[in-house]
Symmetry: C2
Subunit: 243 residues, 2 copies
DNA sequence: ATTACCATTCGTCGAACAACGAAGTATACT
DNA sequence: AGTATACTTCGTTGTTCGACGAATGGTAAT
């Protein structure tokens, strides 16, 4: 009747279907997955999933990359991942059935990927450390650039200090200067209820830590810390992880 | 098959129906509205809306307060409002049809309520000012209290300095010490792409500014600044508003 | 070239669900 | 008391939409 509110309904309906929701959650690690993989993940026939994927693409939540006879899908922009996490915070955590689920839930709270960067307890600890040792400083009261296409989700940023730049370069973290993606970004954690580091820097840091062999991906979103990683994180950042 | 992820689907489906979405958006100002009001807002028959409201209550997104023969519905917890705003950031802003819609959209970006506190350009400015004049300081690297029932949405907090306490007391802002609600909370703004002040303090501040006659509510979510408010905000906080 | 594989389109079936009006149950007004 | 108002429950109708298998168009392997 009167107002110019965005209609939540269409986008929420896209996420409100079980198969599509499973797809989106599977893509939450930021990687691109093939349609067949996603079909198995969602537990429906390929033909069924194809229709779902088409709707998600049409709704601009995911995008396609064709590679040979495969089609890989990934989440288009961070704002999508953020909305998913916001919904996950709301959703009732279903009761733990098996011991495996219990340990899985514990592991995912300890350290996981969120879109393409580090989340969970480790992600939060790491951000805190970077800020406390003044490698990052909070950038406040500066006008945000509003990019309706790409950057609708970015809200609060940090800037890298010169000490931070040096330290990360020493560690071997490489940033792509041509990327239009904001360097850092708040990302809100559903398990820790606090912020962790997103943005291009968060992504590059995760990549490097895996490269160094400090972290390993297993079971999609879960991250495991190696012995080298335990030592390295303690030496480099003073992060002592729980048992 | 394997994991303990929260199922986004059920909660997203609740928001994914046009009538229910309209209801939730109407309730985003934090006030409790009667069922008949909401029926008019959603544009469906009372009997239809009754079913929708029942489902929303069952899904723990809204709660009821009975008052005589009326039933008032409101959003249960801040996390719900946050998820709605996250979705609004994602949703395509539908094209402006009329001039009235244009001015309405401009007004809602200027200053509005979000749940029960101040948002929009004014809300963001106010938070910045409070932080810059060190009435609030960012509270970092402290373990968050995880309250699965009420406080699932709180992420990052500020603490009120002693100067801040004095200043706000002088202004006549009263806080209910018995409330279990966190004093401050980040809340992310879909129009400004930056944070504004939520939590009990954000709510109390809005209440007081309206009491003082500095701000007035009109048309549900829109807030207008009075002449007294313009002077008061400039004198008290140094906030100069645009034209 | 032929065979195998990946993904999409099409047609059909079935279930889920939103919509309404009518009837029922409260509560308020006079 | 009686009447009006506010909301819910119930029964019905109709549409939407997700599910699958079969068939089609491309791409890679041999």
């Amino acid at each position: 009747m009167h107002m110019g509110d965005a209609d939540i309904a269409v986008v929420a309906a896209l996420m409100g279907e079980p198969a599509r929701a499973k797809v989106l959650m599977a893509l939450l690690d930021g990687r691109a997955l093939a349609a067949s993989t996603l079909a198995a993940e969602a537990g429906v026939a390929p033909s069924t999933l194809s229709a779902h994927l088409a709707r998600l693409v049409d709704g601009n939540l995911i995008s396609v990359e064709v590679s040979g006879r495969n089609r890989y899908f990934r989440i288009t922009r961070p704002a999508v991942a953020e909305a998913l996490e916001a919904l996950a915070r709301l959703a009732p955590t279903q009761p733990i059935r098996s011991l495996r689920q219990g340990t899985h839930a514990e592991a995912i709270r300890r350290a996981r990927t969120c879109y393409d960067h580090l989340a969970g307890r480790l992600g939060v600890e790491l951000l805190d450390t970077l800020v406390n040792s003044e490698l990052l400083v909070v950038e406040r009261s500066q006008d945000a650039i509003s990019d309706p296409v790409l950057g609708a989700g970015r809200i609060q940023r940090y800037t890298l200090t010169s000490a931070g730049k040096r330290r990360l370069a020493d560690l071997g973290v490489v940033l792509d200067p041509s990327s239009r993606r904001p360097l850092t970004r708040y990302c809100l954690d559903w398990s820790e209820q606090r912020a962790h580091l997103g943005g291009a820097l968060g992504a590059a840091l995760l990549t490097r830590l895996i490269e160094l062999g400090w972290l390993n991906r297993c079971d999609r979103r879960i991250i495991k810390v190696s012995n080298a990683g335990r030592d390295g994180l303690a030496a480099e950042f003073g992060i002592i992880l729980g048992p």
